[in-house]
Symmetry: D4
Subunit: 221 residues, 8 copies
């Protein structure tokens, strides 16, 4: 059920402090994690190395590590939405960012459907997933290179779409600027864009959109 939703809405709304690891030492990450673990039910550290996880696990054994997503999480109260957040990604190289989005949304409580490796260079992979796309309440589209995937998905469905450009590519890709511009200029309407590689932010936003469906359900029942 969804009964506990009002008790711990802090983190599930994406309001909590989250540790962004780059530029912090292992000691700093561990210390901050421990402090947060004491005052809060749920804690997240993003862009975290396995090394940081090992150090944290020594002190907080319930902490989990999501390798590809590079997320360390301590998640004590687990709930799950009815509605589904679909996470669509283009190539295998985009998977780290896609997983950051998926794991973030899942931790917050969203049911997540992964639809990976469906880049537009082979458009039929995407078309054959049309039904899966339609079963989601909101979609996250993760793509590097030229980021065309967001437009194509936007042309197939009328869901709210959260687009995440990645820095996969080289040369005139300019570390993600090419797909960022592509997504901002999409000929399909209804696409909100987050920063390059910001799978975390996309996960939060999609979860909040997803919650709108859940909340009404609650109100009525």
């Amino acid at each position: 059920g969804y009964a506990k939703i009002d008790h711990h809405r802090g983190l599930r709304n994406g309001n909590s402090e989250v540790i962004y690891c780059p530029g912090k030492s292992l000691d700093q990450i561990t210390a901050i994690f421990q402090v947060l673990a004491e005052k809060s039910q749920n804690v997240i550290a993003t862009r975290a190395s396995r090394k940081a996880y090992i150090k944290i696990k020594e002190r907080i054994p319930e902490a989990e590590y999501f390798e590809t997503a590079r997320i360390i999480a301590l998640w004590r109260d687990k709930v799950q939405t009815e509605g589904i957040v679909g996470v669509v990604s283009a190539g295998t190289a985009d998977m780290r960012v896609a997983e950051e989005a998926s794991v973030t949304a899942e931790l917050m409580g969203s049911r997540v459907q992964r639809i990976y490796d469906v880049g537009v260079a082979g458009i039929h992979r995407l078309l054959s997933n049309k039904q899966l796309l339609d079963s989601c309440r909101v979609l996250i589209v993760v793509a590097g290179m030229e980021g065309a995937l967001a437009s194509v998905v936007g042309g197939l469905v009328s869901k709210p779409i959260v687009a995440v450009p990645t820095d996969i590519g080289y040369g005139a890709n300019f570390k993600g600027v090419a797909p960022l511009l592509s997504m901002l200029n999409s000929c399909a309407s209804g696409i909100g864009v987050v920063n390059i590689n910001n799978g975390f932010g996309a996960g939060i936003l999609a979860h909040r959109i997803n919650l709108i469906g859940e909340m009404h359900e609650n109100t009525l029942s």
Copy 2:
């Protein structure tokens, strides 16, 4: 009531063809509008001048003009959501884009709450509207200059936010690039950004998010 929602979902989902007027002659705009008015219930032309409206009205008397939003609309079946789309804007100069977003969402069927002229240079104007912000299901934040409003609103509420940078400013504003970057880098999570001045796209996206609450209501009742 919301009974008719399944009958005319085309345009209300933001899937319909919409006329973008810049670069088209008055004759072209009028002709395209007429063709669309015959095959479709509802038609929108954006960035439209009053002149274009007068010419269209001669042939389609029900057409309406929204001056500040610069939108010509022919809207035959009117519905209204329970949920509210809040449209927050910074300065008077941003009002054209804010109105483009508001009118778009309203035409699609969303109830809209305008919260204009609450820029961060006078932060208390925004703080005193906290309750109004909380009454909305999703927020559109429209701001030019440095676009700080999106971050401040994002810090006040846990709603999904659609941020629209405008090209208001000069010099190192680079026609909206400054607020665009600002919004993409917001220290507040849960913000999806659309193209500079794209009030229309923001209106579509916010309406689609808003619909998620309505649909569930329908499913259940």
Copy 3:
């Protein structure tokens, strides 16, 4: 037949001087056109206004005007290739550039198949033209906004593709930079990109590629 191909290969190879009209006065354009018309079989002026055409026609009655393509041409020896240059375009606003490409290739002697208004926002328009795409020897893809069309076409066929970004769009489109980057970073291989709005250059390049098929035919027969 293709018998005359060796006699007039100059212009058909795209080597001739072509008049680029912007920044030149009507008098200058007319004078240059006349000089070239005397020493050369075929003359082209690009980005030309109807006014320039009227002035030129007074002196050179055989001159033709291609309104949408904005091309004035004096074309005395007409030939036609077996192979087809396909010109695919996204939106109606891209048509001027698409026509510049089509008319250029046609004047050079290429048979041209126009496949317009098949943007990715409605992907099925493009998919239903798959057979037409397959019947071409080389494809020109013209697109503004985010330029995703080039990648999608590149995913559908294995032909050489010449991609032309247009400056259709606003804000973070940066006058065609967004689709330019998109096309340069395409996840589909085999795409050569020309300058923003350079329909003329695309027409020349596609024609030269198309000629490769013709030349062999000649060599053998």
Copy 4:
């Protein structure tokens, strides 16, 4: 002969999956290579280190390594076109990219003529190769620094040209942006540009153009 061309056209058209090595571990590269080697006649890995090659060779002894091109290839059916792809390059520092283009086109089945180290600082080196340039069906021009070579070659021949900017240079070169812009703005017509350092993409495109001559040959004989 060219008899087998219809049997294995997949990879030779440049449609096959190719492994792009940067960002992948040695283990990942080896694993993907092995999977592809089982389901496909021919496999390519680009931007590959010698280390990766040694690991792959242990399991797939027929794999070859092209040191300068940084390509690992397993190529089981070898064919060769009549037509020639010319690969022209400016300086010794551009050779890695030029070789990526040459080896890619050769693996696909194109006969390749290398014309290296003919930069415009010593223009006569290029002029004395005019006949060689004329013997090719399509040219790839690889240049860093200011990329002027593409324009000069474009002024000498009427072949289709695929231009590849490289990131050779410093300061206001901006990692290949200077030659990229140079090539997009070339005063010579008929030049299609690929991404910075994208020798692989240039090889595919040139091969596809080259094939047009071969295919007709087949049709007729």
Copy 5:
């Protein structure tokens, strides 16, 4: 008291040579420091590592090291202003730059009030410090990400503000360009901006502004 201010105004006005360490070897830094320590009362080295400090301390035992600020200082005559320089910063990641500003101003002789970790994502942290802000004569605002803090502080007080963008962020942050543009375009007036990460320059400027109040005091008393 402030009696000695006229005797040693050189360094306290920020006119002295300061050692900028990046790109210099430990030996060079030590040598330059020693030379300056002989001819001048006070010496500063910025962006200095602990290693450099240890080496300098061996020869000049009075030298101090400010770890977070990365400043090595030899400060022989200590004075303190009546007026306060407030240093406001957004996140913990901005602290190195904030400390560079604080320590610089303090060494010059300014009384400094640190108001750290009051980013706009939690606006009430800032609002609850309003009184502290009001007690300062001049404010330094240090912020990365989108740099909105400068505008919000500028909307709360009428003090001169020195804004320092930091390079904290990723993707479309472009190493501090996003907050730099944000601060230059602030909708609040009265903000002077220094280079990205330039805590040192901000400290100097704020100290000079602060001195204006002191000097008058001196003149009159």
Copy 6:
């Protein structure tokens, strides 16, 4: 005297609403001006045409127009500081921005010393004004082209400097970006930069800095 300074500190601190005219119609400007004139002692409109002034003057005869500064002002209580704001400018073309700064500071109540047309191409013009520079409490430096003037002035004095880049120049000036970068990177310390052409903002900031000297005077006497 300075007695009234506490009574009307609003506008003199630069906190008041100021009308920015570009993008507003004559009617809008006049209407806003009148509203502000009723509720406030002092009103300013910047970037204002003479036409706007004539229309305003019809209704508010005390309104003044500053032609070069393009400022319309209604200023009812006039005070003047002891301290001097020096406004230094490079070329005659920079004078509009310099005057915007000077007039703004003067209206706020600062005594202003203009030192115009002392660009670095003739360095002795600047050196011969050293004494004048020294007599000021704070300096505004206005320069276009390459903006070197800010660095040279910064090397001559130890005052707080507010630097204003202008868009005077062409080509690689990029409408003021060249002097903006120049000023942000100045080798002289103690320079705070405002937006391109933002004479108004510089006037406010310099006035606030200047006030620091006045306030102390008040406190003590």
Copy 7:
């Protein structure tokens, strides 16, 4: 002879004040011209319209107008160097800038050899002018589009070269940025670059270089 060279070296060294007309009214230009004509032997106004010339001529009948160069000049003492400044340009559209350079150098006293319309698209036009290039002491190379001409000329001669990028081009030319970068990155050594369209500055610099030969001649004879 060259006897008078020491008497009037001011303007001939390029030190004099020159009027840059854009942004000045006809009245302003005329007034400044008259003032300078009284205190100086020689006066130049650049980027000047024919209208400005007609107005000036009414008062100063000896004033001359150079239509293509857009220069108004009053030149009272005419001398001529032995050495030759060669001015090489690419296309007819570059001629305005080339003439600005040529006329500037000529007015200063340099003998000028124009070598126009020798762009690299037809490289033999340039090669057949090799002897003319060799007869010059210093060369100015003016080119828009991709600016390859500078590199090709630099490869042919060992003279000092002053390169002037022009804004001729469109799209990814970015108003002269493409040839500017091209020239700065030239693979040929010995090229000094001036601002986009700055024919005037190139004329001054080339003249000063040319003078070096003259001066020695004087010293010795």
Copy 8:
């Protein structure tokens, strides 16, 4: 004397092949150096490490190393001009580039006058060197940060000036873009700019300008 100038003009004109070391292995550098040392009198390698020098010296004992300039040179015929190339630099951090320019010009045969560490932050250091500046035939100005030094030197002398921006700076310096733009936009005329850090190119160009004075001397005597 200068008698041998016609015999070995190749390298002294700056036409010879020079080895640019970055991106080449020690073995490659050594091999190329040896080949060139056999066929040419004089050889240069730039951006060379001491390690490369040691390896080359083993085989070619006459090779010299210029530590700060990072140049390895084999220079067999030494001549010296009458005229002087002045090399002016701003800060100690710019010295590597300044030395690259000085050593290059010296090797070519130019007499060089170094005027280092005269940045504009202390303008009197530069002014007190006015006589030295006047004794040179041509000046090279090397500066990073905001590059103002070029303009100030340009305002003091009427010599041809070659300006070299360096990448010294951080943040909005953008690795030398700030001084590059500064130098291109200089308000002083007669400045030719080379690429960021291109001391070598500046040395060649200044030497060629210097030679103009020498050659005449030869012609006459």
